[in-house]
Amino acid sequence: MAPLTERQAWLVLASVKGVGDETFGRLLSIFGSAATVLIAAGDGRLATASADWQRRQGRPLLTAPVLTELRAIAADGNERLTALSDRGLWSLTPLDAGYPGRLRDLDPPPPVVHGLGDPAILVARRVVALVGTRRPTPFGRMLAGRICGRLVECGAVVVSGLAVGVDGAAHAAVVERGGRTIAVIGAGHDTPGPRAHEGLRRAILAGGGAIVGEHHPTVRATHGTYPRRNRIIAALAEATIVVEAPVRSGALITARHALELGRRVLVAPGRVGDWSTAGSLALLRETPAYPLTGLDEMVADLGFLGGGDAASAVVGGPEARGALLATIGPTERSVAERLCLGPAGLDGLVAGTGHPPAVVAGALTLLLMRGWAQAIGPVYLVAGPLLG
C-alpha cells in the first residue's frame, strides 16, 4: 500500500465513527499529524495513548471498538477514500484552501466537510441561515417562503437543514425563485434526509446549490448528529433567521451557536402563549437576538445584504396600501381591509364586514384572482402587494 498523504490520512481518520471533531483535535495534538495517528494505531501506540488519557482524564480517549476500527483501517484506508470518490463527493478539510473560512470560527472546526454540488458556494458572500420547526403552522411555512423570496432578490444564499417543515419550505422557496441554497445534512450522504425531499435535493443541486455534511457517507443519523449539524449551519451563514421555534427546537440550538459565533440572529416573533413560537419568544427575551418585524427591516438589520437591487421595488407602508385599496370596489375593499388586520376564516370575514356569505365569497374570489389574498386551509390572509 502506498503511504497516504497527510490530507488522505486526514480524510481516513475523520471517517471513523467515534472520532468527532473534539477527539480529532486531541489526536492531532498528541501525535502531530493524522498520518502519524494512523501509524500509531497500527503499532499499538494509539492504545497506549488512549489508556494514558484515561488515567489523566478519567475516561478513555477512544473506546475499544473505535481502536479496533482504527487498527483495521491503518492497514488499508483506501476503501474509505474510494467510498468518497465513488459517490462523486468532494471533500474539504482545513488543510484545503477552499475550506470555508467561516467554519474555522468554530472551535474545533469540523475536520472534514463532504459535499455534492458547487463547493464554491460555501465561501459565497451574503449567506443567511433560515431554520425553524419541523412542524410549522401554515403561516410559518408561508413566512419562510416570503423571507427566502426576499433573500433571493437580494442575491443571498440560504443555508438550512433539509429537514421537513421550515427547512424544506426555505429550500423550496429559494429553488423556485432561481436562487442558490446550501443544505447541511445530519447524516452521511447515503441517507441525506427525508425521502419526501428527494426531488428537492435534485432541484437544489440543479440550481447551483450544494448539499454538505461532516459525516462519512455510510454514517447513519443518530440522536446526536442533528444537533451537531446545527453548528455547521450557524457557522456557514453570516446571520441566522429563526421562523417558528417551539421550546426545545433544533432551531434554538442553531441560533445559540450563531450567537456564540458572534453572528447576528433574527427571530420572527409570535403571539404570546402560542405553542409554535414559544421557543422563539424565549430566544428574544434571553439573548441579544433581534426581532424580525418585517422584510424591509430584515434587510436593514442584516446590513451586509447592502442596498440590493430589490430595495427600490419595495412598495410597503400603510400609505401605499391605502392607495392600492382605493382602486378596488367597496365590498372587495372592506374584505381586504379586514384581512389586513390579520388572517380570518370566511365566517370571520362575514362577521367583520357585515356582508352576507355569498357577497364575501365573491369579493374573496376577486382578491384571490388578483393575488392579493391567499387561502391556507380554511383561513385567508393577505398576499402580494397588500403585505407590508
Binding site: R134, R135, T137, P138, G149, V164, P194, A196, D274, W275, S276, P343, G345, L346, D347, G348, V350, A351, P356, P357, A358, V359, V360, A361, G362, A363, L364, T365, L366, L368, M369, G371, W372, A373, Q374, A375, I376, G377, P378, V379, A383, G384, P385, L387
Partner: protein, 526 residues
Amino acid sequence: MLATLVTAVVNGLRGELVRVEIDVAPGLPSCHIVGLPDAALSEARERVRGAIRNSGFNYPGSRITVNLAPADRPKRGAAYDLAIAVGILVASGQIRRGGGAWALLGELSLSGTVQPVAGVLPMVATLARAGYARIAVPAANLAEAQLVGNVEVVAVDGLDDAARLVSGPRGRSARAATRRDALSVSSVSGAAAMPQNTGAAHLTGMVEPVDLVEIRGQGHARWALEVALAGGHNLLLVGPPGAGKTLLCRAIPGLLPPLRDDEALEVTVIESVAGLLRDGGLRRDRPFRAPHHTSSYAALVGGGPALQPGEASLSHRGVLFLDELAEFDRSALDALRQPLEEGVITLARARGHVRYPARFQLVAAMNPCRCGHHGDEDRECRCPRGEPERYVQRVSGPFLDRIDIHVRLGPVRPADLLAHGEPEHSAVVQARISAAWERARARNHGRPNANLAGSAAVRAADLPRTASVLLDELAVAAGMSARGVHRVVRVARSIADLEDRARVLEQDVLAAVQLRQPDMRWPRAA
C-alpha cells in the same frame, strides 16, 4: 283435484306474476314445493300446515304437490304462503271457488294470521296491469297497496278471512274494499291525507333532526348547504371535530323540498321492496339516509343473497349523508361512482342482474386529517408527518370530482356561540330552497341544476357578456379544467336561483368559485 291461484314475486323493483298450482292426490301424506323455492319458501310447508289446522280447517292427509310457475325463475320469501294455503283448501274441496278471481299476497303464521310482506306495492301494480282486479293483501300492507288504482284491494287478517273472500260471491267481500283511481298523478296527490311514513331514519343510526335555529356560527357553511340543497349539488364539508359538520347535516331533513308525486311513488316502491314500508302509505318527505361508516359494501350499494336495494337506492330522490367519509370502505365508495354519474345501480350476479334507481344527492363530511386539526389557525395538528395527505387520499380523486361544492370549515369560536340575535329557522331557509328548486325544475325540464350537462348548464345560466368574460379570466387564473368551469356554472345557476335571478350574474360566478375553493390553483402571491 287441482287448484290454481295467482300471486306475484319482486325482481328488482318490478313485480312478476307467479301462478301457484296445487294438486291434492291420493297417496302417502306429503307436501312437495317445486319451482326453485328458497329456504324460506320451502318452510312454507310447515307454516301452511299449522295455519290450516289452527284456522279450523283440515290439513288433507294426501299427497300435495305445489308448483310455482314459471318454473325456471327462482322464488324466495314467504309471500306465497297465503296462496298455497288457500289453494290446498280449494284443491281438497274444503272451500268452493266463488265468483271472483283473487290474487293473494301474504305470509302466514302458525295461528293462521296473515303477516305483512315486502314489495307489496310493485306486486299489486303488476297484478293490476295483468288484469287481476281483486287482490288480497296483509292488513299492514293495505295503505301501500291502495296506492295502485283500478283494483279492488282487500286487507285480510287471517286465513279464514281469505277463505271467505275466495269462496264468496263476485263483488262481495269480508271487508269494504277501497277503490282508487288509476295510478296517476291526481290520485297520488290525493293520497297526501293518508298516513305518512315517518321515515326509516332510525334504522340508519341517525338521531333526531335539528332545526337550523339551534346552530350558531358557520354562516358560510349554512350558505353552502343552502346552495347545495337548492341545486341538488353534491356537497363535501371538511373541518375539524366540533366544527358542526354533523349538526348542520342533521338539519337537512327539515330543509328538503317535499317529494313531487311521481318521485313519491318511486321512493315508496323502493321502500316497499326493502320492507321498510310496513305501516305507511305514500312517502311525502325526501329520504335522508345516514349509513354508518362501518357499513358494508352490500349495505351501501345493495346486494346480498336477495339483491336488496342498498342505502344508495334508499336515498333515491333524497340525500345520502356519509359522515366521516374517509373512514368508509374504499371499494364501497368507488362503487357509488356509477350512481353518482348515472343515477342507477346495476347489481350483476351469476343468477341475473337487477337495476335499482339511485339518483341521490351526496352530502359528505370528513376531518382534514386523523387528529382533525390540520390547517387550523390556532390548533396544532398532532398527526405524524405525511399522515394528513394520506388521510385525504383515502377518498379517490374521481370520487371527489363528482362533488360540486367543497367547503372548508374552521373551528367555531366561543364568540359565535354567544352572539346575540337568532339564526334563521329551518322553515325560512326551506322556503327559499323550495322556491329555487321549483325555478330550476321549471327551467330544466324537471331536473335539478346539478344534473345539467355542461352545455345545458351554460344555456341555463344565460351568462351576460361581462360574466362570461369574468368566468374566462377566473378559469385561466385558477387553472380550471373544462369540467371545473361547468361545475362553477352549475353552482352559480343555483346561487342565482336562490336570489330569483333569471340570468347568472358576475357576483354569482364569483361566489360559485369560492364554493370550490380547495380546487383552485391561484397564482402564488409574491
